[in-house]
Symmetry: C2
Subunit: 573 residues, 2 copies
């Protein structure tokens, strides 16, 4: 009954709230229920002192909440669904006689239906009781994640439509499940996108145990859809390769003919849309995971230190960046046109241009990141000391997503080095892979270090607050810390911009645009990994397809995440 | 300069400590150096109030330290070594022409030498400066981990000796690297076991950045040795299977004959010892990871609330448990003898006994865990609210290790269900797998919930302290929380043992022994996964070997970890 400590602090405030469940394992205890009636409503003004104590207590509650029964139960459910699904998916890939795509799809349909049921239940509950969601995490479900979800959701929907039309043509000789699955998935796409759009920022306080389990169900469903799509795509790639571009089997019985003429077109079309579905599942998984972490969390409704975005502050970085994007798009179009030609010479020329362009981009990025890191050393600032679970999660997702590109690059390096890297194309491919590894490491360092530095506007606001604008060295920041909570006494004139901050902002802006073009290229179909044959020969087709299909979506996710993070670093600097 | 806050609290204490580095990114700042001179020596007595503030500050420092440059850099190094190694190991498995075992071993030798160099450097530095390790984490490197490390280290050493003797016989026609690798590995085993034995509990404060990088190097080296061993073992299994028990190739050139007669014996012997080497690498990885987490950490030297171990308290649980262990060992011996017979009938009988024994064990464990969980509900206690990184890590390792057994069980379930589970052996196999999944889930819940409950002896001590021994319901615990720090006023007579606590202790003791027998069986060679053929046919030999070789060592690790955790839960209850 730790929560009863809250009574002492807040017994003088009686906000007319209903009873809210916060601590999942002790919900029945009447005493605790009572204490929560005394919780301050998030918007009510509190003295700094009381707020500090409040946050302290809340932290303790959070810690306990995280280890409650629901946390554990939902984790166990997630592990079980995932490993069972993993067994099904991989056995359908390795032993397609005993477990067919139909078995796998029935399993996925059940999961999709269960998840939708839970989402409907959740939406109804939270819309009825206005105490269900007292707190919102403003960091969760950022704009780029939501926009990406809708974009990839629409393209996945298109894929499902194509699939339905295609498989309807096989209905007379193939299982009805093949049509049912895309139908259910299409409905699921709408329900889930709506659900995540509305509820991504929720810190649920009601039915926390049940909500946790529902969210891990959502998480594991999305991960399994992702896993199934990756496997299907790899198998399909291998089949095309094996049959030398002779599509139209994959339907168990090769004698099964499509009953309408548009089949082939639709089938080719929906396979092009697979990567977007893979990406959609990753986005949805990330958002479900963030929501799961936020269940039962009580966040301070801190009046965000909004940093203003002044695009005039920088010039060189954005200009260089936009030039790079334009050049990148030009070479991408050239590449896409030339790579489809029959002529081997022209295809090599396309690869040459693509490789050189990527090497130039990666080198420039490495260079500017190094400059940025040096400026970090010079422009020494405090690290933010307060805890921020969303930021830790953000950093975790960033580093995790970068693994995908790391994986592809290292496999390329090994393949090219071992085979001797003969010919200029192999040498360029190697250089690109090495530079990418370097660039990823540097950029991760730059972003994470940047996110953890004390934001400039916070220091500035503190300075304005204390009116302590003395004239020392114009960039020296001297912070004196009170024993209780940090107050910043700043010796910096707020209207004098420092060159270090300008350089950092230029670097951020440049890296942001560079990541945009590195996102555009793979997202819009550039696949040099399959157009250049070294890795395919070295690792065999199936394995290399699996590596690329796992690594590339993470790589695309990483670029989008980097863009958002770099924008944040830009604002902080 | 948040640390300067420490000055205020502790400026009255001037312990003659040297300058110690705590915060990695600001090490050069003289002001911070100074503050650390005022850190209290860990053993010095402090008032509770001051201690509370101290811990508060330390937490903030920790948070920052964790996100320092060294943390990031060491993470990036770890990722790079791991993914590069992963590419090398998997390409040596999938493309044994271009990348041979020799390439892989050269890479591993370099890593082993670098790791040893760092370990020597670390040992010398810390032995010279007595300020290098100010704090020790008493939870890190527990006895079972250290004992396991030494045990598996010795068996791995034996494996290396056998390898050396074996490969010396091929020296005239095979690479010298094949002999060099086990030699280096044998030296490494000694250096690393010594290093981890001495330093596992260190919370390093000196050269934190460098130490972090060294530890991630150790971590990734061990993980790669593990990965290489798993791959080699899987390839070897597949080769034996393919060649129908005709050993003596695997040395590139099949014409290469061993120059001494004992080769075949030694080769067979060292392949039997592979699982122990795999286990050793896992243990070392876990310990290196814990050390890495502890770098720069400042731990309270809290006078451990030592719970006494009174074996007389319980009777039924240990008796049942020991009976189970004896019965298990008897059936194991029977199994090992019978399974080697040529007669198919006898082999099936051996499998039958083994399956039934395991089903009985798993059922009894499930039953007792359910009883334990019900008692948790009845004997309601507070969750521990203070933060404990080692405990979180412990829980993470436990859940992570349980994945191995989950993986094997679910793959078995899918294979048996899909093939129809004909025959009593398949039915028993299925029942065993389902019960194992259930047992793992329940046991994880039981242990984690148990570890997070407020220890009984803490409540008891608080009760003795406040001398508040009133007579209410003899098991009702009523805790009142002060607004600053929790003080427990207990309404329980310390000399009156509650039946709930007795039941919990009985359950813990029984589960402990049951885990012992479940550890003994796979650790001493029972491999029904390979003696029973359903999964091999279903998944093909290579894939199934890989699954078992990855899953089983984690399963063994899990059992040992469970034993240690259950002992802790026993003491707490």
């Amino acid at each position: 009954m730790f929560l009863s400590g809250l009574i002492k602090d807040f017994s003088h405030r009686k906000t007319p709230n209903d009873v809210v469940e916060v601590h999942p394992s002790n919900t029945e205890t009447a005493a605790e229920m009572e204490t929560l009636q005394h919780l301050p409503s998030p918007s009510s003004p509190l003295t700094v002192k009381t707020m500090g104590e409040f946050v302290h207590h809340v932290d303790a509650v959070m810690e306990r909440t995280h280890h409650g029964g629901g946390w554990l139960l939902s984790g166990i459910i997630c592990i079980n669904i995932l490993i069972l699904g993993c067994a099904l998916v991989s056995s359908s890939a390795f032993n397609s006689v005993a477990i067919t795509a139909v078995h796998r799809q029935i399993f996925l349909i059940i999961l999709l239906l269960l998840t939708m049921l839970w989402m409907l239940f959740y939406t109804i509950i939270t819309s009825r009781k206005n105490q269900a969601v007292l707190f919102k995490d403003s960091h969760a479900g950022p704009v780029w994640l939501q926009a990406g979800l809708v974009l990839f959701g629409l393209l996945s929907f298109l894929m499902d439509i194509f699939k339905i039309v295609n498989y309807v043509g096989y209905l007379h000789c193939d299982s009805v499940v093949k049509v049912a699955f895309p139908v259910v998935q299409a409905v699921f796409l709408f329900v889930q996108t709506y659900f995540l759009w509305i509820h991504a920022k929720d810190c649920v306080q009601l039915h926390t145990n049940f909500t946790r389990c529902g969210l891990t169900l959502t998480l594991s469903t999305n991960l399994l859809v992702w896993m199934a799509a990756v496997t299907e795509e790899s198998v399909h790639h291998t089949e095309i390769y094996d049959l030398n571009m002779n599509i139209s089997y994959n339907y168990g019985d090769k004698k099964c003919k499509c009953s309408h003429s548009a089949c082939d077109t639709f089938e080719e079309a929906f396979y092009y849309l697979y990567p977007f579905n893979i990406e959609y599942s990753l986005f949805a998984s990330a958002m479900a995971y963030i929501m799961w972490k936020n269940v039962g969390r009580i966040v301070e409704d801190h009046s965000h230190h909004k940093a203003k975005f002044c695009p005039k502050e920088v010039r060189l970085g954005p200009v260089m960046g936009i030039l790079l994007v334009v050049a990148g798009i030009a070479t991408l179009i050239l590449y896409e046109v030339q790579i489809l030609k029959e002529d081997r010479e022209k295809r090599n020329a396309a690869l040459l241009i693509h490789f050189i362009m990527n090497i130039v981009i990666a080198s420039l990025m490495c260079l500017s990141t190094v400059i940025g890191c040096i400026v970090y050393r010079l422009d020494h600032r405090e690290h933010v000391s307060e805890k921020n679970p969303t930021r830790s999660l953000d950093v975790g997702l960033l580093v995790g997503a970068s693994m995908g590109q790391f994986l592809i690059s290292y496999f390329t390096i090994v393949a090219v080095v071992v085979t001797g890297a003969r010919g200029y194309l192999n040498a360029l491919n190697l250089a690109w892979a090495v530079l990418t590894v370097l660039q990823l490491g540097l950029q991760n360092y730059f972003i994470i270090e940047g996110l953890h530095r004390e934001p400039f506007h916070v220091i500035r606001e503190a300075a304005l607050h204390t009116n302590a604008c003395a004239l020392q060295e114009h960039t020296e920041i001297d912070v004196v810390v009170d024993s209780n909570r940090p107050n910043y006494f700043l010796t910096l004139c707020p209207d004098k911009p420092s060159w270090k901050r300008r350089v950092l902002k230029e670097v951020c802006a440049f890296l942001l645009f560079a990541n945009v073009i590195l996102w555009i290229m793979p997202a819009f179909g550039a696949r040099p990994q399959f157009d250049h044959s070294v890795e395919i020969f070295f690792y065999k087709y199936t394995m290399w397809t699996a590596i690329v299909n796992i690594g590339l979506p993470f790589g695309i996710f990483y670029r989008m995440h980097s863009i958002a993070s770099l924008f944040e670093v830009y604002l902080i600097s």
